[in-house]
């Protein structure tokens, strides 16, 4: 109806709801967004270059620090890439434990996402509830590998050690507890009219656009594209588990929320199957003392909580990789942000950032 002067405003790098050090340059017409330009690089550490000067086992701790809220997915992807290049067969027990760890990590990561997303929209209490349950998962990880954030949980060829005694029972205990806790969050949000008002029809990303932007993970599935790496290119024996891939229909923030909520339930389902059928045996394949993959290159993808996490590895036969490249889902999903924000209000930017669930360590590497 009226047009006035546009105003530029910086949102970030030091802002409560840009999830780290993302900087957005917003062009505003009043409260309405005319344009959004993400500016990244505030957390750049040059991990890809660092990898060229580390031996293969030394790189795994670096991968912990890419997507630091889902470090196990990164470990899994990296180890998978090296194993694929070396042609190693990981023992089935190790594969199953890896699946359990990765799915627990997915729940933990989604819990962190849900808490911060709700916090951004003003529902602070959900944050404390989700962190209460995330704490339980971190305890499980601590019992398994001693760390709570950067786990370095796997080894090339399998795991360092088997799970400690009684660990599987504690996982089962968590699985018994979690559905009722998840209901608590849903009671607070899923049918809350303000929540619906803040997320429905906000940040729409059409399926074609999502594919064109290379989006993946819940951001892609929220737009109704049925694609999950765990099903499309199974790794670590995911083909042996039964699970649904939830998709959205309205392509908005609310659908992405629903997709992640359902993914948590499906993760529980996968973990339960893995626990029921956990094979006995070794947890590490025979690997040489010095890991020197043959000359060649490999691209390995896993489904991290954020989407398609790719590892491209070039080996010249030495102890260190010649080139390591990460395809990080946060970075790619972030590309879609301006498209989702244009024409919305300032408050919606916060909702949309929350709904694509970026981790700046993963974006900047």
């Amino acid at each position: 109806m009226f047009r006035t002067e546009e105003m530029d405003i910086n949102m970030g790098p030091q802002h409560p709801s840009t999830h780290g050090v993302l900087r957005l340059k917003l062009t505003l017409d009043g409260e309405e967004i005319v344009d959004v330009r993400p500016i990244i690089g505030y957390l750049h550490r040059g991990v890809e270059k660092l990898c060229e000067h580390r031996t293969y086992p030394m790189i795994e701790p670096l991968t912990d620090r890419l997507d630091y809220v889902a470090a196990i997915s990164e470990n899994l992807g990296y180890c998978g890439a090296v194993e694929k290049l070396m042609g190693l067969q990981v023992p089935p027990r190790a594969q199953y434990i890896r699946v359990i760890l990765a799915e627990l990590q997915r729940i933990a990561s989604h819990l962190l996402w849900l808490g911060t997303h709700a916090l951004d929209l003003g529902a602070m209490t959900v944050y404390f509830y989700t962190f209460r349950e995330r704490e339980l998962i971190l305890d499980l990880f601590e019992q398994f590998c001693g760390a709570r954030l950067t786990y370095n949980s796997m080894r090339i060829g399998g795991l360092l050690e088997d799970v400690p005694a009684g660990w599987t029972d504690r996982v089962r205990h968590f699985l018994g507890l979690f559905p009722s806790r998840q209901k608590e969050y849903e009671d607070l949000l899923t049918v809350n009219r303000i929540w619906l008002g803040r997320t429905r029809g906000v940040g729409i990303l059409k399926a074609d656009d999502a594919v064109a932007m290379g989006a993946s993970g819940p951001t892609l599935r929220g737009s109704g594209v049925d694609y999950d790496v765990r099903r499309a290119q199974p790794y670590s024996s995911y083909e042996q588990f039964e699970f649904d891939v939830p998709t959205g229909t309205n392509c908005d923030t609310y659908d992405r929320y629903l997709v992640r909520m359902e993914e948590m339930r499906q993760s529980c389902r996968i973990i339960r199957q893995a626990l029921d059928r956990l094979p006995e045996g070794e947890v590490r394949a025979k690997v040489p003392k010095y890991i020197k993959p043959p000359v060649g290159e490999v691209y390995h993808v896993v489904e991290s909580p954020r989407g398609e996490q790719g590892f491209y590895l070039v080996s010249k036969g030495g102890e260190m990789p010649y080139r390591m490249r990460f395809r990080s889902p946060s970075f790619v999903n972030l590309q879609a942000l301006p498209m989702m924000c244009r024409g919305q209000l300032i408050a919606d930017v916060v909702a949309v950032i929350g709904s694509i669930d970026i981790v700046l360590g993963d974006v900047d590497r």
Partner: protein, 117 residues
């Protein structure tokens, strides 16, 4: 008017309280100059442009609407206080008055003055 006197005294005390606290704070607080402390906060980057930009006309439209409706609300107050004495005539009169108010409101709504997004 003597009953208003306490409000005036209250105003004095209420104004004295922040003034006194600020004076005490001024006496005891540290003051260490630092160039970066005195920059405008724009999320950790130097601010781009001045903040005193022109702002959308919508806010003025709200202000104008507010003035119109607030004045009409104030007209309702004396009527409401004496309502019991006015009886049926007062009721009819008020319905007419509110009817005019509603027409104006509907007009503003229709014209899109209440659309914010």
């Amino acid at each position: 008017m003597v009953e208003y006197a306490p409000i005036l005294i209250f105003l004095g005390v209420a104004a004295l309280f922040p003034a006194a606290t600020l004076v005490i704070a001024w006496a005891v607080r540290p003051s260490r100059y630092n160039k970066t402390k005195s920059e405008a906060y724009e999320c950790g980057v130097p601010p781009s442009g001045d903040a005193r930009a022109r702002y959308p006309i919508r806010f003025y439209v709200i202000a104008v609407l507010f003035v119109v409706f607030d004045v009409e609300t104030i007209f309702l107050f004396p009527w409401a206080v004496k309502y019991r004495a006015l009886g049926l005539f007062g009721f009819a009169e008020m319905v007419v008055f509110l009817g005019i108010l509603v027409i104006g409101f509907a007009y503003a709504w229709r014209k899109g003055a209440l659309e914010w997004a």
